[in-house]
């Protein structure tokens, strides 16, 4: 059968930077193809070329054997290419029905709204993938997974033959990911192909038949997923080899530096007690509703527990705000670095020093410029933040580098305890390894580290002890050495 899509030797550069250096890609009808690569490898550029948003500098694109050197978004849509963007391209303020039907109505050039017709279109759309939803509900009230289903249903309305999903699983729970995979497999039965963009290797193995891996604008590998293994995948993605090693704590403190006793926040967690010593990395894991995030927020003064106490080096803490926690030497790296951890439009430099401004300023509160510059240089170097200039805005960095800036911010504050919530969520493999290395060296330098994460391999490899939470209680405390994913998920569920 003829190929649905073939891209040959596509090159594209922006302002002198070569984003794609002659990339080729072929997709057959009904194929599930995974496009992988680290942030900045050119995945998004390639998608935008396929969907007609960018014109390639060189190379050609073929839809069903018909060749084009340049296409407009409407050409791509006419040939059945549909992109589901990470933001789903939706209107949170409008009803599900309108979200589903607008594209069709606009494509038909309609000027008048016929609400009955909108409903028919919307009902037809969701029936394709057996998706149950209240069509009159405002879209903003839906969960992330439901919003994604709306976007998929909408894409199918325009006779899609290839659906491109840009990192579709980032914000989904495991159960929702499985539901998504089922939909993708159902579409396959109708000969609709899926190009699945991801950098999570377990997903690549689970769903895709074929894969293409990009690195720095070049295709480094393509083929059948059957021939791929974890080690090869990581190497193709990063160009580096990594040794997985179990964290071995050294210099564990004699006395606990942080003690949590019977901490209770009704509705979130109950009767939580544990201790944390210098040199240790302790992992807290559990399902989304296990109270793990609330626990972390409470230790940082963002939520107020009703009962129980927190002791730092034997002294009782009154944590009513993050300022109290920082004063006590406790830092927190949030789950969603984009909305909670960084001032994205501000410079990398400002983000690094924001927590220690007091220390850098003189008597009149004016910042000492040379001290500031020295401090910034130190951290950019120490954490290998990839930037030509620390005065660039933080949002110019990739996810992994942004996460490093958050880390730098807290390390600059001279902390004893560092709490990290999902430290590598949405971060690519290379950066993930780097962040793990940083955490391990921090612990070796005498810091007490608490990792909140549902990434079980991460917890097992990087922690010395693991606390498993379930419905607000710590149900199991175990040594990470010797623990397996099965053991932990058995108590977690």
């Amino acid at each position: 059968m003829a190929e649905l899509l073939r891209v040959t030797g596509v090159k594209k550069s922006f302002a002198g930077v070569q984003a794609l250096k002659g990339v080729s890609l072929a997709i057959a009808p009904g194929e599930i193809h995974c496009l992988a690569g680290e942030n900045g490898c050119g995945k998004s550029t390639l998608i935008k070329i396929i969907s007609g948003v960018y014109a390639p500098d060189e190379g050609k694109i073929e839809f069903g054997g018909q060749a084009f050197s340049k296409i407009a978004p409407i050409d791509a849509i006419r040939h059945g290419i549909q992109v589901i963007y990470q933001d789903f391209s939706i209107f949170p303020n409008l009803s599900v029905m309108e979200n589903l039907a607008f594209n069709t109505e606009l494509a038909a050039g309609r000027k008048i709204v016929n609400w009955k017709r909108l409903r028919t279109i919307a009902e037809h759309a969701i029936s394709r993938i057996n998706f149950q939803v209240d069509l009159d509900a405002p879209l903003g009230s839906l969960s992330v997974a439901e919003k994604q289903m709306v976007a998929i249903s909408r894409a199918l309305l325009s006779d899609a033959r290839l659906i491109i999903m840009d990192e579709p699983t980032t914000a989904l729970t495991r159960k929702e990911v499985l539901a998504l995979f089922k939909v993708i497999l159902d579409l396959k039965k109708e000969d609709i192909a899926t190009l699945f963009v991801s950098h999570k290797l377990d997903e690549v193995f689970e769903i895709s038949e074929r894969f293409t891996i990009l690195r720095s604008g070049e295709r480094v590998a393509t083929g059948s997923t059957k021939d791929l293994d974890k080690k090869k995948f990581t190497f193709y993605m990063t160009g580096r080899e990594f040794e997985d090693s179990q964290f071995e704590p050294k210099n564990i403190g004699e006395k606990p530096t942080l003690e949590v006793k019977n901490l209770t926040l009704p509705g979130a967690f109950e009767d939580v007690s544990f201790e944390l010593r210098r040199g240790e990395i302790v992992g807290v894991t559990g399902l989304l509703d296990s109270g793990r995030t609330e626990l972390a927020l409470s230790l940082f003064g963002l939520l107020k527990p009703e009962k129980g106490e927190v002791l730092k080096d034997g002294r009782r803490l009154a944590l009513t705000s993050p300022a109290d926690a920082i004063r006590a030497g406790i830092g927190y790296v949030p789950e969603d670095r984009l909305s909670e951890g960084l001032f994205l439009p501000r410079s990398i430099a400002d983000n690094i020093i924001v927590g220690e401004i007091d220390r850098l300023s003189g008597a009149a509160g004016v910042i000492n410029r040379s001290k500031r510059a020295a401090e910034i240089e130190k951290w950019v170097k120490e954490l290998a933040i990839a930037t030509p200039n620390p005065d660039n805005a933080c949002q110019t960095l990739s996810g992994g580098n942004q996460q490093r800036v958050v880390l730098a911010k807290w390390l600059a504050c001279d902390l004893d305890v560092l709490i990290l919530n999902g430290p590598t969520m949405g971060v690519d493999i290379g950066s993930k390894h780097d962040i793990h290395k940083i955490l391990k060296s921090l612990a070796e330098a005498g810091m007490a580290v608490l990792i909140i994460s549902d990434d079980l391999p991460e917890v097992i490899e990087n922690c010395s002890r693991v606390l498993v939470m379930k419905r607000g209680r710590i149900v199991e405390k175990l040594e990470a050495r010797g623990a397996t994913e099965e053991m932990i998920s058995a108590v977690m569920m």
């Binding site: 209107f91 303020n93 309609r110 000027k111």
Partner: protein
């Protein structure tokens, strides 16, 4: 049903308005009299028209603070021109001239905002000053004590006259009230039953998505500011006719009160959400406060204080509802919502 109503902003604002009416009635005995109600309705015409325009702009995620200046300029130019040529005809020609001028001035706003993607607030702050400058400088505006007879007659024409049985006071319901009703109806139909109107909501919800879906975002925004310029000019003309004279600076400064009314009626200042009903209720509430405090024996300089208080309470209640709804959903275990509740946009 009750539950559904309790979640709507319109319900609260209606209750507040009714409570206020009741208080005024008890204190003065003069609120629910035919002439007072007609007076209120007639005082609502101009702010109501302005509010419809402001509402549509806010729905689209924009903001317009230039409409009083725009209306002042176009209606002053219209009146002055008609006086100069000694126009003796009816109201139709003044309306057409004012609408045309309004469309041109609105197009200036629309052009700058949609084609150059400049922030609407900055553009309209700038054009407001420019419009005012043109009126006061180039046209050398002064108060026009006499207006063309056609306009004057239109301002004095009444649909009906209401009389207070006790005091014998009478109030006219101006014919211009029909303009408000017609504009309201038209705006409702456009917003509800045209792709253009749904496009305004879509752009207010997510402009990039609107573009990707196939809405011609630039044209929709451009035409919006043209339409709003026309509505504002119409409002200005109605005001001059009803006053029987043209006072060029009389409308300036109304923008905050109007926008406040729209927001009070539950329209999201960030765009995308709100209803015309709410918009009108909010405006009515502001008009009642402005016009009825005298019946309570409260000095008029407390007006600003009372309106300000109303806005803080009104918007506060809806903000609290939103955060409570967010907390409720968060408790059900949807993490992305709990983040939104802290004020971070999705």
């Amino acid at each position: 049903m009750v539950k559904k109503l309790s979640r709507r902003n319109e319900t609260y604002i209606t209750l507040v308005a009714l409570a206020l009416c009741a208080v005024i009635q008890i204190r003065s005995g003069q609120f629910f009299t035919p002439n007072n109600l007609v007076d209120l309705a007639s005082a609502l015409i101009v702010p109501g028209l302005f509010a419809i325009g402001a509402f549509m702009v806010i729905i689209s995620g924009g903001i317009d603070v230039s409409f009083p200046a725009l209306a002042s300029l176009s209606v002053y130019a219209t009146t002055k021109f008609l006086l100069n040529i000694n126009y003796q005809g009816g109201i139709l020609v003044p309306i057409l001239i004012a609408l045309a001028l309004g469309a041109i001035l609105g197009a200036v706003n629309g052009f700058l905002i949609s084609w150059f993607s400049l922030p609407a607030l900055i553009v309209t702050l700038g054009t407001a000053s420019v419009f005012k400058g043109v009126m006061q400088g180039a046209l050398n505006s002064t108060q026009l004590a006499v207006i063309p007879p056609g306009m004057d007659a239109f301002g004095k024409s009444a649909l009906f006259v209401a009389q207070n049985a006790e005091s014998g006071l009478t109030s006219r319901m101006p014919v211009a009230a029909l303009f408000l009703i017609a504009t309201l109806l038209l705006a409702y139909l456009v917003l509800r039953y045209t792709m253009y109107g749904r496009g305004l909501y879509a752009i207010g919800g997510n402009e990039i998505s609107a573009y990707r879906a196939g809405f011609s975002v630039k044209w929709i925004k451009f035409l919006l500011y043209v339409a709003v310029g026309m509505i504002a000019s119409l409002a200005g003309l109605v005001r001059v006719c009803m006053m029987g004279q043209c006072h060029p600076t009389n409308m300036l400064g109304m923008e905050m009160m109007i926008i406040a009314g729209v927001v009070l009626g539950g329209t999201a200042i960030t765009g995308g959400a709100g209803s015309l009903t709410g918009c009108m209720l909010g405006t009515i509430l502001i008009v009642i406060v402005q016009n009825s405090m005298i019946l309570l024996g409260i000095p008029t300089f407390w007006q600003g204080f009372a309106v300000g208080l109303l806005i803080i309470i009104g918007t506060g209640v809806s903000a609290m509802q939103v955060s409570r709804a967010g907390a409720h959903r968060a408790a059900k275990g949807a993490p992305q919502v709990s983040r939104t509740a802290k004020g971070v946009p999705q």
